[in-house]
């Protein structure tokens, strides 16, 4: 089955090939596209590469690029490169492996175009960029295999859309190349095979792990707070003790700032000097590689990390996964847990550590779901992003002139675009050419122009360059390098040479003054200023950072988990499993208000700080709650209640109004019939859609990605997308980008059908609870950071209110009596 030399090498390692790896070898001979579905630790990567290495070994005269490996994470490509080099070196195979990401040097990248390796490891963005060059045609001619790893993390989002378009293009350039997909176990394998396969579903090799993970929950001894996502010192101590009693643990945390903080707090109590490492996306490549190598070499006993370590090469020696905070999704949690213990015949171990009351509910619900073997990952996306398509069209044009009809035929072979109509494709194409406006304009500035044969190509070289700089579906916040430029003595290092500690989002250091301290890369740094687009810092002796630096990272709660939490709440006998203080909290809610009932929607009404609050516990997840928030705001506005804003959590939403809400209004709020246009009209003017639009504008190529420091030149390079949005809504409401935007929002945020069925179900089952003040359950929702402001009569009234309260009116009256 496998070459003798391979078998001998396995024997020296004491490895035995597993069934699914053998199945893969067999399938490679007989099938075209293949999907391998297996839990973490099953040796998926080896399974994917084995047939490739075998093929290359058996064809020593093979020239050119044989296999591309696509992974969603840069870190992963490094790992794989390392791991492939081992057997290749030890067996002395004449196979060249190289990686190509944004971390690859320009020299190497140029060399790869002309002298490609046999195996190229890359990311979707880097591959998209490679396809914009005319050399791509010759480069990919010899291609035999395309391996796509961690498919489950791509298929339901825009990066996946982009990947399928890349695959469609590669099909044209290399018709014989087949696709091998590697994925963790998902809820719907069939859909995944359709997503991957060309013209027919891929052949499925499905390895199921029957042994469920062993999951425990650690509660703090002292009361869990109502809000906040950071563990108390009591919990930190418990985490530390857990780390001490295990060989190697990964502590997963939700945000980068939490990683920094926890890492520091653990070291403060690290009396036994346990080697604990840190890992997240803002660290420099070197630092990340150091940590990754240390893990592989078993030099670390624990790593505090974000989801940057979610995907990755299997580290056989991790024996415990500690998940801090709310799990948010069961599939995701199970995949994370799979990082520990890579023997398929024994269970993985995990500990969940909730940091507030609602998280405790969520962890408990997750526990039950895991033992029931439920998976809740989203299905592959079936409506591909139009902004991604626009970017792709331009990419193709950069490499060689494009013909509209053939490009359309090519694009619809990609799963998310299989139902794309010719007319929508034409609209997207027109957008790329001339902006797609109803009003004819910019004739001399068209981005693509026609040649004699009727094909389109970019008008000039600058446009190609601009496009290449812009590429990528993840619109990352503008990041600045953080450089340690001051010595311990407080003097500046020579010639401004500093130690690159990592990259930080520009908005996070806006407003910092020299002398302010903040936590980064595991240390407390002192901000000194920005020079040459770099944030200059020195080390601080302070024990606490002055400026809290929070960054994003909000995972959506899966609807399954949300429903499970509700069910848990409405079954009092299940509450016994909680520590006493949690039971007390639940009883407090029952006393001051009520626990949500299974078949009803609990809506609380109370006054707070002079505003009238209406709080509904829907358990529908943040996106639906957000949509409901807009719908309710619109209705409250129509009724003259002057809604000012609302905040949402995964469990519910809370709106506050200037005026009180009469009974008659309450009745009207939950009507399930809303005209789609009505809601769209409101949504269109919402800050939410504008936020999404910013992303769409850059991905599609309408505006340029803002690079830090461009404002230095004084010339305005980027354009506020809000202004563009306002004008488009007014004059061209059906513009392609607005359509694309609404599609995105519907896909990622709002499911109008779901909202409708929710309202239909609960319309007559609302339980109103009038309370004297805030209730225990409402506090986390009200204190949510993100607040949606309503631009209505209320805001004006609010400003008026503020000015009345200030001295200014008085002073003004005095001043004008001249």
């Amino acid at each position: 089955m496998i070459p003798k030399i391979f078998q001998e090498w396995f024997d020296t390692k004491g490895w035995h090939l597993r069934q699914h790896q053998l199945d893969m070898l067999r399938a490679y001979q007989t099938e075209k596209d293949i999907l391998l579905l297996a839990p973490t630790g099953a040796g998926k990567t080896l399974a994917g590469f084995l047939p490739v290495l075998k093929d290359l070994y058996e064809s020593p005269d093979f020239k050119g690029l044989h296999t591309i490996y696509i992974s969603p994470l840069k870190a992963l490509t490094n790992d794989i490169a390392r791991n492939l080099q081992h057997p290749i070196n030890e067996m002395g195979l004449p196979i060249k492996v190289e990686s190509r990401t944004s971390d690859t040097s320009t020299y190497k990248k140029a060399r790869q175009k002309h002298t490609p390796p046999h195996i190229l490891l890359t990311t979707p963005e880097s591959l998209a960029l490679l396809l914009t060059y005319p050399e791509a045609k010759t480069l990919f001619k010899s291609l035999q295999t395309i391996i796509i790893d961690e498919i489950h993390s791509l298929a339901s989002n825009k990066r996946g859309d982009q990947t399928t378009l890349i695959l469609a293009r590669l099909k044209i350039l290399a018709p014989n190349a087949r696709r091998i997909g590697l994925s963790a176990t998902v809820a719907d394998p069939q859909k995944m095979t359709t997503w991957l396969g060309y013209e027919k579903p891929a052949y499925l090799i499905h390895l199921k792990k029957d042994i469920k993970p062993l999951v425990k929950i650690i509660y703090s001894d002292i009361s869990l707070p109502l809000t906040g996502h950071y563990p108390s010192s009591d919990l930190i101590k418990k985490i530390y003790e857990t780390i001490q009693s295990n060989q190697m643990s990964i502590v997963f945390v939700n945000t980068r700032s939490q990683v920094e903080r926890l890492f520091k707090d653990l070291w403060v109590i690290n009396d036994s000097n346990v080697p604990i490492g840190i890992h997240h996306g803002s660290l420099t490549k070197d630092m990340r590689t150091k940590v990754e190598t240390a893990i592989t070499n078993q030099q670390l006993r624990a790593v505090v990390a974000t989801s940057s370590l979610d995907l990755g090469v299997d580290w056989g020696n991790v024996d415990l996964v500690i998940n801090l905070g709310a799990p948010k999704g069961i599939s995701r949690l199970v995949q994370r847990i799979g990082r520990s213990n890579h023997r398929l015949d024994s269970p993985s171990h995990a500990i969940l550590v909730p940091t507030n009351c609602f998280e405790a509910l969520e962890c408990q619900a997750a526990l039950q779901a895991i033992s029931a073997g439920i998976l809740d990952d989203p299905p592959p996306n079936s409506k591909g992003g139009l902004d991604v398509l626009a970017q792709h069209i331009m990419s193709c044009a950069c490499a060689s002139p494009i013909d509209v009809d053939s490009l359309y035929a090519e694009v619809i072979t990609a799963y998310p675009y299989s139902k794309l109509t010719k007319s929508l494709f034409q609209d997207t194409f027109n957008f790329v050419v001339n902006g797609g406006y109803v009003l004819e304009h910019y004739e001399q500035y068209h981005r693509l122009i026609k040649d004699d044969s009727g094909s389109f190509y970019p008008r000039n070289a600058q446009l190609k360059q601009r496009h290449r700089m812009n590429i990528g579906t993840i619109v990352e916040a503008e990041k600045l390098k953080v450089m340690l430029v001051y010595n311990k003595a407080g003097t500046k290092r020579k010639r401004g040479k500093g130690l690159h500690l990592g990259d930080i989002e520009e908005r996070l250091i806006l407003g910092m003054e020299p002398g302010d301290t903040f936590l980064f890369a595991g240390q407390i740094l002192q901000y000194q200023g920005i020079r040459d687009l770099k944030v200059e810092v020195s080390r601080s002796n302070n024990r606490e950072a002055k400026i809290p630096v929070f960054s994003g990272g909000r995972m959506p709660l899966s609807s399954y988990l949300a429903a499970s939490v509700k069910h848990l709440l409405t079954t009092p006998k299940k509450h016994m499993v909680f520590p006493l203080y949690l039971q007390k909290w639940l009883r407090a809610q029952a006393t001051f208000s009520q626990l949500p009932g299974e078949e009803e929607l609990l809506v609380e009404l109370f006054s707070h700080k002079g505003f009238n609050y209406i709080t509904a516990y829907t358990f529908e997840g943040r996106p639906t709650n957000q949509t409901l928030g807009f719908l309710l705001s619109q209705r409250l506005e129509n009724e003259g209640c002057h809604p000012l804003g609302f905040s949402v959590s995964d469990y519910g939403l809370s709106l506050w109004c200037l005026n009180s809400i009469p009974q008659s209004t309450l009745k009207k709020l939950w009507h399930p019939t809303f005209f789609k246009d009505e809601l769209n009209n409101w949504l269109d003017h919402s800050s939410m859609l504008k936020r999404f639009f910013r992303n769409t504008a850059v991905v599609s190529g309408l505006t340029e990605r803002k690079f830090p420091g461009q404002s230095k030149t004084g010339k305005q390079v980027t354009f506020s997308t809000d202004l563009i949005y306002e004008v488009l809504i007014k004059y061209d409401p059906n513009h392609l980008l607005l359509r694309s935007n609404r599609l995105d929002v519907e896909r990622d945020l709002i499911n109008l059908d779901r909202l409708k069925s929710f309202l239909e179900t609960y319309q007559d089952k609302i339980h109103y609870q009038t309370c004297e003040r805030l209730t225990p359950f409402s506090i986390p929702i009200i204190l949510e950071k993100t607040v949606e402001g309503i631009e209505g009569a209320g805001t004006d009234a609010l400003i008026a209110l503020k000015t009345v309260q200030e001295r200014s009116e008085l002073l003004y009256r005095e001043a004008t009596h001249e």
Binding site: Y442, Y445, F611, V727, I799
Partner: protein
């Protein structure tokens, strides 16, 4: 809802309007600033094909205001066009719209700005660097040497940014003290500068009033400490 706020500057009664313009009733004059007509074109050269509706949007809003106030004279306080060549780069029907509007009133004054120090002959109206009428001086940028004069200026695109009850509110606004009034920007594609910015503080010093310009204007006292 009252959509104008009446203030007094240099002894003259002026109305700050919620439509980003200033109305001087006694002289039947409408004052706007920073139209930046043609801004979109500049970006499209580089490949950012912005929606080409800003010209008609700016002009239609302006026309509505001229009609509403029955203005006899219009003063546009500079940066009327994004570049000196912008008028020439407009489409023929756009140029016609501009001139039609200019000639629809008895007098149209274009104050020259830093973006458009030169305006072409084919554009109608009077083009000058600054002008006075009674005690009021009209400039694009404030004349800092002559702080005793009453001035109405543009250039800064002032914006009122604040947090009220956990919401961030950002609105174009008028900003004024005893001697100087800074106009909000009128152009559809113009952004704004926070009034707390040092550039504006240099002009108005650290204690001045603002009133929002896209909703009911009410005076709000701003007191900033120099950092």
């Amino acid at each position: 809802m009252n959509d104008s706020l009446e203030i007094s500057l240099g002894g003259e009664k002026l109305w700050l309007s919620s439509c980003r313009c200033l109305w001087w009733p006694v002289r039947e004059t409408l004052i706007v600033s920073d139209l930046h007509i043609g801004k979109g074109i500049d970006f499209s050269v580089r490949g950012a094909l912005l929606p080409p509706y800003d010209v008609q949007d700016t002009l239609s809003r302006l026309k509505r205001l001229i009609d509403k106030f029955k203005a006899k004279r219009v003063i546009s306080l500079g940066d009327n066009f994004h570049r000196s060549y912008s008028f020439g780069a407009l489409k023929e029907w756009e140029k016609k719209s501009v001139n039609d509007l200019v000639f629809s009133v008895s007098e149209w004054v274009w104050i020259l700005g830093n973006h458009d120090p030169d305006l072409p002959v084919e554009l109608g109206g009077t083009k000058i660097e600054n002008m006075s009428d009674g005690y009021l001086g009209f400039y694009h940028e404030p004349n800092l040497h002559n702080k005793d004069k009453f001035q109405i200026v543009g250039h800064y695109h002032p914006k009122y940014v604040t947090r009220i009850h956990r919401q961030r509110i950002s609105k174009p606004c008028f900003a004024w003290n005893q001697k100087t009034l800074i106009m909000p920007s009128f152009g559809s594609y113009t952004g704004g500068l926070n009034v707390a910015h040092s550039e504006i503080l240099k002009v108005l010093s650290h204690s001045f009033y603002i009133a929002t310009a896209d909703t009911e204007p009410k005076p709000i006292l701003i007191e900033q400490n120099f950092s």
